[in-house]
C-alpha cells in the first residue's frame, strides 16, 4: 500500500514539473520520459520474454512516420496520427514477427536490426514519406502538452508491464525466456505469446515515436530509424533491471541524467565516460540496478565481486 502511495506521489511530482521548471528542464523531461517508455517497451520483449531485440527502432520509426504522414500530408489531427503510427507498427509486428520470432539469441537480434535498417531504406524512397529529405509537421509551441503526453504514455506502459508481471500471460513469457522448449511442452502457446509481446512492445514504442515526431516537428529517415536508439534503449533497460517493473524506468532516468550532466561539460568526454559506465556495469552489475539494490542489501560490495566470479571464464 505504501509503495503505491509513493509511486503516485512520484507521478504527481513529475506531472507538476512543467509548472515549476523552465523550458530546458521540460525538454530534458520529455526526452527522459520518452526514453523510459521505449526502454519499458523493450523490457516486455527483451526483459520478460528473453527475446533481445536490436531493432525496436523499426517501430519507433513507423510511429514517427505514421504520425508525420497523417499530420503533414493528410492534415489529420495528432490523435489520429498517433493511432496510424501505432497501427503500422503493430501490423509490422504481426507480419514480420511471425517469421523473425522463430530465430533465437544473436540471430534474432541481428534480424531485427536488419529489419529496422531495411525499413529505413525503404521509407527513404517513398514520396509520401518525403523520401530522404523528410517531412515537416505543423508547429506547436506547447512543450507542456508533450511532456504530459509522454508522462501519460510512460505510466500506461509501466502499468502494462505491471499487469504482465502479475498475469498468467506474464508467467508464460517468463517461461519462454527461461526455457522455451520446456514451456512449449507444458502448454504455453509460445508463438502466440511471442507475437503478443512483440505487438505490445511495438505499440508503445511507436506512440513514443509519434509524440517525438510532433514535438521536434522535423523528421527524416536517419533520425526516425536511428539504429543507435536501439542500443541505448537496451542499455537503459538492462542497466535498470530487465524483467522488473520499475527497473527500466529507473535505469533510463539515471542514465539520461548521467549522460546529460556529462554532456553539458565536454561532449566527447561525456560519450567516453558513458561507454565506460556501460562496460563497468556489464562487468559488475549485469542484472541491472534493481538487482544491485537487492544484492547490495544482502551482500554489500561483495555483490559486485560475486557477479564477476559467476560470469568470468
Amino acid at each position: 500500500m505504501l509503495r503505491w502511495l509513493l509511486l503516485a506521489l512520484c507521478v504527481a511530482a513529475l506531472a507538476a514539473l512543467p509548472l515549476i521548471g523552465d523550458e530546458v528542464m521540460i525538454q530534458y523531461g520529455i526526452d527522459a520520459l520518452l526514453f523510459a517508455t521505449v526502454a519499458q517497451a523493450w523490457n516486455i520483449l527483451g526483459g520478460y520474454t528473453g527475446y533481445a531485440s536490436f531493432g525496436n527502432s523499426a517501430f519507433y520509426g513507423l510511429g514517427t512516420y505514421g504520425t508525420a504522414i497523417a499530420m503533414a500530408q493528410l492534415h489529420l489531427p495528432f490523435g489520429v496520427g498517433l493511432a496510424l503510427g501505432a497501427a503500422l507498427a503493430v501490423a509490422c509486428a504481426v507480419i514480420i514477427g511471425l517469421p523473425i520470432l522463430r530465430l533465437r539469441g544473436h540471430y534474432f537480434a541481428i534480424a531485427t536490426l536488419g529489419l529496422s535498417a531495411c525499413l529505413s531504406a525503404i521509407i527513404a524512397n517513398l514520396d509520401i514519406a518525403g523520401r530522404a529529405v523528410g517531412l515537416i509537421l505543423p508547429l506547436t509551441r506547447n512543450a507542456a502538452m508533450f511532456y504530459e503526453d509522454a508522462l501519460a504514455l510512460l505510466v500506461a506502459a509501466t502499468l502494462t508491464v505491471f499487469w504482465i508481471s502479475k498475469s498468467r500471460f506474464g508467467v508464460g513469457l517468463i517461461a519462454i525466456r527461461e526455457d522455451e522448449d520446456a514451456a512449449r511442452v507444458m502448454g504455453v502457446n509460445t508463438t502466440l505469446y511471442k507475437v503478443a509481446a512483440l505487438m505490445l512492445s511495438a505499440f508503445f514504442t511507436a506512440i513514443a515515436g509519434g509524440i517525438h515526431a510532433y514535438w521536434i516537428t522535423f523528421i527524416d529517415p536517419a533520425g526516425a530509424f536511428d539504429l543507435t536508439l536501439n542500443v541505448r534503449m537496451v542499455i537503459m533497460a538492462v542497466f535498470g533491471g530487465p524483467g522488473t517493473v520499475l527497473g527500466p524506468v529507473i535505469g533510463s532516468f539515471v542514465l539520461t541524467l548521467v549522460y546529460d550532466t556529462l554532456a553539458s561539460g565536454i561532449s566527447t568526454a561525456a560519450a567516453l565516460l558513458f561507454g565506460l559506465v556501460i562496460v563497468l556495469a556489464v562487468i559488475f552489475m549485469p542484472r541491472g540496478l534493481w538487482d544491485l539494490g537487492a544484492g547490495w542489501r544482502q551482500f554489500g560490495p561483495r555483490y559486485l565481486l560475486q557477479n564477476v566470479r559467476m560470469h568470468r571464464l
Binding site: I110, N125, V234, I235
Partner: protein, 285 residues
C-alpha cells in the same frame, strides 16, 4: 561493358569486405561473442597503418603486418582483461559490453586523432591497369589480393597448425579442451587477438580505398554482421564468398537501383537469409 566494370568493382571491394568480416566470424565462432566493437578495431587498424605510412614513411602494404601486430596486442589485452570477465554471462551482455567498448574506442580515437578524414595515399594510388576494357585500380587490386592471402593464411592457421587445432577444439567443447591442457583464458585472448589483427589489416586496406575517421566503426560492424551471417561460421572462404556477394550486390544496386537502395538490399538480404536458413553456411554448402 558497364556491367563488367561493376562486377569487377564489386568483386574487388567484396574481397575487402570479406576480410573485414573474417575477424568477427572467428571471434563469433570460437568465443560466441558478437563483437559490436569490431568496426572500431578496423578503424584503429586504419589509423595505425596511416600513421606508419605518414609518420615513418613505410609503404602501406608493408605496414600492414606491423599494424596487425599492434592490433593483435590490443585485442589480446581486451579479451584477457575485460571480455573474459563477462564471457559466461548472457549473450546480451557481451553485446552490450562490446557496444560500450565501441563507444570508448570511437571517442578515444576522436580525442587522439581528431575527426579529420584521413586517406592513405601511396605514390601509386592513382595507377590503374586495364583488362579487356575494364579499369582496375592497382590499390584495389592489391587490397583484394591481400584479403585473399590473409583468408588463406587464416585457413592454414586453423586447419594445419597446433594453435589452430586448439582453437577449433575449444570452439567445439571448452570442457574437453581444458582437459587436454588448453588454457582457456590464454586461448580466448589469442583468438580475439587474431580477430583484431585481421580487423586491423582490413582497416589499413580500407584506408587505402576510402577514408578513415573515428566514426567508420558502426557501419563497418553492421556490414561485417551481414557478411558473417551469410558466410556462416564454418569456413573462412565462406566469409570471403559472403563478402563478394555483398560487394557485387552493392555495386549493382548502386547503379541500377540508386545509391539509397544499397542498405535496403544488404539488410533485406540479411533478414531473408536469416529467416529462411538460420544456420546457413556458404562455406559448408
Amino acid at each position: 561493358m558497364l556491367f563488367a566494370q561493376l562486377l569487377v568493382n564489386g568483386i574487388l571491394l567484396g574481397g575487402l569486405y570479406g576480410l573485414m568480416a573474417l575477424g568477427m566470424a572467428l571471434v563469433w565462432g570460437v568465443l560466441n561473442i558478437v563483437n559490436l566493437a569490431h568496426g572500431a578495431l578496423i578503424m584503429l587498424g586504419g589509423y595505425c597503418t596511416y600513421f606508419l605510412f605518414k609518420g615513418a614513411g613505410i609503404d602501406p602494404f608493408a605496414a600492414l603486418p606491423l599494424a596487425m601486430l599492434a592490433m593483435f596486442a590490443v585485442g589480446y589485452l581486451l579479451q584477457r582483461f575485460v571480455l573474459n570477465l563477462v564471457i559466461r554471462s548472457a549473450q546480451l551482455n557481451t553485446l552490450l559490453i562490446t557496444f560500450g567498448l565501441e563507444v570508448v574506442l570511437t571517442y578515444l580515437a576522436q580525442l587522439a586523432f581528431s575527426a579529420d578524414f584521413r586517406t592513405i595515399n601511396p605514390s601509386y594510388a592513382g595507377a590503374n591497369i586495364s583488362v579487356f576494357g575494364v579499369t582496375i585500380p592497382l590499390v584495389r587490386l592489391g587490397a583484394f589480393a591481400a584479403a585473399l592471402v590473409l583468408a588463406a593464411a587464416l585457413w592454414i592457421l586453423l586447419e594445419r597448425t597446433r594453435l589452430g587445432r586448439a582453437i577449433r577444439a575449444t570452439a567445439q567443447n571448452l570442457v574437453a579442451a581444458r582437459l587436454y591442457g588448453v588454457n582457456p583464458a590464454q586461448l580466448y585472448a589469442v583468438t580475439f587477438g587474431i580477430g583484431a589483427a585481421l580487423a586491423g589489416a582490413a582497416g589499413g586496406l580500407y584506408g587505402m580505398v576510402s577514408q578513415v575517421t573515428p566514426y567508420i566503426g558502426a557501419s563497418l560492424t553492421a556490414k561485417s554482421f551481414v557478411i558473417t551471417i551469410m558466410g556462416g561460421l564454418e569456413n573462412p572462404f565462406g566469409i570471403v564468398l559472403g563478402g563478394l556477394v555483398i560487394g557485387i550486390a552493392e555495386a549493382l544496386a548502386a547503379i541500377y537501383l540508386g545509391p539509397t537502395f544499397t542498405d535496403a538490399i544488404s539488410f533485406g538480404l540479411l533478414v531473408v537469409i536469416l529467416v529462411l536458413r538460420p544456420a546457413r553456411s556458404l562455406g559448408a554448402a
